[in-house]
């Protein structure tokens, strides 16, 4: 919101990581609540969910190392691939409920520039579709706000 301090957006380490992913040629898109937030949705989250193309584990690990992000590959302690660090809020999303393949969903992304980094963001319609399909308590809880944001977004798109 409008305040006296400068907006932060992504943390310095997150910026370095996203840039490293791009320089490593790892295809990814931002999904989930952070992506919805970048399309006006009045919702809050703990993390930035990233959905990667298949077989990108090596590139992700290299980008994490380059950016100083702690990365724990999946399966060591029955864990999913996990990121860590004091100013790192990134999560790797392994499956997206109710959506098509990563490559097909690339066609349903928009580009947003955040802290000077051009990021592919899953569009709000598809985020809502994934939340509906996931249908957990926490997904159902955010649906009204996401749907209201879609109404607001469309009203602006109609504007000449």
């Amino acid at each position: 919101m409008a305040g006296s301090s400068e907006p932060v957006g992504l943390s310095p380490t997150e910026r370095a990581f996203l840039r490293a992913l791009q320089s490593q040629g790892v295809p990814f898109m931002m999904v989930g609540i952070a992506a919805a937030r970048l399309q006006g949705a009045p919702v809050v989250t703990e993390d930035i969910d990233l959905w990667f193309a298949e077989d990108t584990q090596t590139g992700i690990a290299a980008a994490a190392k380059e950016a100083g992000v702690i990365y724990i590959p999946g399966g060591i302690a029955m864990n999913p691939p996990t990121f860590g660090g004091r100013d790192v809020r990134v999560d790797q999303v392994l499956t997206m409920s109710g959506l098509a393949s990563f490559d097909e969903e690339l066609g349903n992304t928009i580009v947003r520039e955040v802290n000077g980094i051009r990021l592919r963001i899953l569009n709000l319609e598809r985020i809502i579709a994934s939340k509906r399909a996931a249908n957990r308590d926490k997904d159902r809880a955010v649906l009204p706000a996401l749907e209201a944001a879609l109404v607001a977004l469309r009203s602006r798109e109609r504007k000449p």
Binding site: G9, L10, L38
Partner: protein, 68 residues
């Protein structure tokens, strides 16, 4: 009724440009919510968020700050 309209027009004329802007967003939200199940408050906040920069949008959406 006529009196109310008169009072409202007087009140609106006394609003600052910023107040008028946010009032117009609220009125737009109410219009968009009419006849739907959507909450005008959610639409209003989304309209406000859409006026922010991407960095500001992210800042408002995190429980944990990014510690720049």
């Amino acid at each position: 009724m006529v009196y109310n309209l008169w009072v409202h027009s007087i009140l609106q004329s006394q609003l600052s440009t910023e107040q008028k802007h946010y009032l117009s967003l609220w009125q737009k939200a109410v219009r968009l919510a009419e006849g739907t199940k959507h909450d005008p408050g959610d639409i209003y906040h989304a309209l406000c968020n859409l006026e922010l920069t991407p960095e500001e949008q992210l800042d408002g959406g995190f429980i944990r700050a990014g510690r720049a």
